[in-house]
C-alpha cells in the first residue's frame, strides 16, 4: 500500500512538473514585452551568448564530419565504381539527418547547459526573487529572451553546419581523392530538392530548438538553489535534451520522409 502511494505521488509530481513547464513556456513566450527596443536589446545579447559563441564548435564539427563522411562514402562506393555519388551521399546525410541532429546535440551540450546554470545561479543568488520584488516579471526579463534566442540560433547553426560539412566533403572528394568536380555537384543537385531536403532539415532543427531550450530554461528555473542542485539540473538538461532530440528525430523523420 505504501509503495502504491509512492508510485501515485511520483505520477502526480511528474504531471505537475509538465504542467509547470507548460505554464513557463506560455508565460514567457505569449507575454508581450513592455518595450520592443528593450526586448530586442535583451534578445540580441542572448543570441550572442547562445549562437555566436557556439559557432566555433559547430563549424569545426561540421567540417570534420563532412570530411569523414566523404572519406567513408568513397571507400565503399569505389568498390562499385560509383564514387561520383559521394556528393549525393554527403549532402543528403548532412541536410536530412546529421546537420539538425548533431547541431542540436552540440547545442544541448554547449549552450543549453550554460542557460540552465545561468538561470539556476540567478535563482540561488536570489536575483529572480529580487526582480519580482522590483516589479519586473522574470519570465519576460530572463526566460523569454533566452528561449527565443535558442529558437533563432539553432536553425541558423544547423544550416551553417550542413554548409561547412558539404564544403569539407567536397574538399576531400574533389581535391584529395580526385573525383570529377562536375559530376560531384551535378549528382548532388539531381538528388537534393530544396523544399524536401533543405527546408525539412530547417523545420527539424526548429523543433529540436523548442525541445532543448524549453528543457534548459525549465530546469534552470525549477532547480534546487544550491550548488549541487544547479549541477544536477545542468546534467539533467544535457541528458534529457539529447534524448528528446533523438526521439523527436525518429518521429519527425517518419513524418517527413516516410512513405506511409
Amino acid at each position: 500500500m505504501k509503495n502504491l502511494t509512492k508510485v501515485g505521488a511520483s505520477v502526480f509530481d511528474w504531471l505537475e512538473s509538465i504542467g509547470r513547464a507548460g505554464l513557463l513556456l506560455f508565460q514567457s513566450v505569449f507575454h508581450r514585452p513592455k518595450s520592443l527596443v528593450g526586448a530586442l536589446a535583451l534578445l540580441n545579447k542572448q543570441i550572442y551568448s547562445v549562437g555566436v559563441l557556439s559557432l566555433v564548435i559547430v563549424v569545426v564539427s561540421g567540417l570534420f564530419i563532412g570530411m569523414v563522411l566523404s572519406l567513408q562514402g568513397y571507400s565503399i562506393l569505389v568498390k562499385f565504381s560509383s564514387e561520383q555519388s559521394v556528393g549525393q551521399l554527403v549532402a543528403l546525410t548532412l541536410l536530412r539527418e546529421l546537420g539538425p541532429v548533431v547541431t542540436a546535440l552540440l547545442f544541448a551540450g554547449r549552450a543549453c547547459s550554460a542557460l540552465t546554470a545561468e538561470i539556476g545561479l540567478m535563482k540561488a543568488t536570489e536575483q529572480l526573487s529580487s526582480l519580482e520584488m522590483m516589479g519586473v516579471d522574470p519570465y519576460r526579463r530572463v526566460i523569454a529572451p533566452r528561449f527565443i534566442a535558442g529558437l533563432i540560433c539553432l536553425p541558423i547553426l544547423s544550416i551553417v553546419f550542413s554548409m561547412v560539412g558539404i564544403m569539407g566533403g567536397e574538399f576531400v572528394a574533389v581535391d584529395w581523392l580526385g573525383i570529377h568536380d562536375g559530376s560531384f555537384w551535378s549528382l548532388m543537385q539531381q538528388s537534393v530538392i530544396f523544399s524536401n531536403d533543405v527546408l525539412n532539415g530547417v523545420i527539424k532543427s526548429f523543433c529540436f530548438a523548442i525541445a532543448v531550450t524549453w528543457i534548459a530554461v525549465y530546469q534552470g528555473y525549477e532547480c534546487v538553489p544550491t550548488s549541487e542542485g544547479i549541477g544536477k539540473a545542468t546534467t539533467t538538461t544535457v541528458v534529457l535534451g539529447s534524448l528528446s532530440v533523438l526521439a523527436l528525430d525518429f518521429v519527425l523523420t517518419a513524418a517527413m520522409f516516410g512513405d506511409f
Binding site: I156, I159, V192, F194, V198
Partner: protein, 155 residues
C-alpha cells in the same frame, strides 16, 4: 562600445545563416523546386517497375523532362500505375510514344525513358501512355537464360 560589438557579431551571425541557406539552395539543390515547376501529369501502366522510385527522372533522348510523381497498384489490372509530371514546355509528346524503365549505368538509379511516336496528336493532362516496357529484372533474365540453355541441351 561593448554593446556595439555584440550587435555587430549578432548581425554577422544572422547574415552567415542567410548566406549558408542561399549556398545550400543554389549550389547543393540547384534550386530544384520540382514540385512548384509548371507541369502536366500523364500516367503509364507497367507489368513490373523493378526499383523505380518516386522523384526518379523522366527523360526524352537523355534529356530530363520531368519526374515520377507517384507509384501505386492498379487493383483491377494488377499493374503498377506510374504518374509522371512532365514539364509544361514539353507539350508535344505524341500519343503513341512508348515509356520504358531503364537503368543509368550498371548500378545507377532507375528512370523512365520516353521514345517518341509518330502521331500528330499530343499527350495532355491525365492521358496515358499505352506502349510500355517494364524494367529488366536480373533474376528473370538469368532464369530465362538457364531455361533456354537447358532446353537447348536436351534437343
Amino acid at each position: 562600445m561593448r554593446n556595439k560589438q555584440v550587435e555587430l557579431l549578432v548581425g554577422a551571425f544572422v547574415v552567415l545563416g542567410c548566406a549558408a541557406l542561399a549556398y545550400l539552395a543554389i549550389q547543393v539543390s540547384g534550386l530544384a523546386f520540382s514540385d512548384k515547376k509548371a507541369s502536366y501529369q500523364i500516367v503509364a501502366r507497367f507489368d513490373d517497375i523493378g526499383g523505380l522510385t518516386q522523384r526518379a527522372k523522366v527523360s526524352v533522348a537523355g534529356v530530363t523532362v520531368g519526374s515520377v510523381e507517384s507509384i501505386s497498384l492498379d487493383k483491377e489490372l494488377y499493374m503498377a500505375l506510374v504518374t509522371m509530371n512532365i514539364d509544361k514546355d514539353v507539350d508535344n509528346l505524341p500519343t503513341d510514344s512508348a515509356a520504358a524503365i531503364l537503368t543509368s549505368g550498371l548500378l545507377g538509379e532507375k528512370y523512365i525513358g520516353i521514345s517518341i511516336g509518330a502521331e500528330d496528336t499530343y499527350l495532355t493532362e491525365g492521358e496515358e501512355i499505352y506502349d510500355t516496357q517494364s524494367a529488366l529484372v536480373l533474376e528473370n533474365l538469368i532464369s530465362q537464360f538457364l531455361f533456354n540453355s537447358t532446353s537447348g541441351d536436351s534437343k
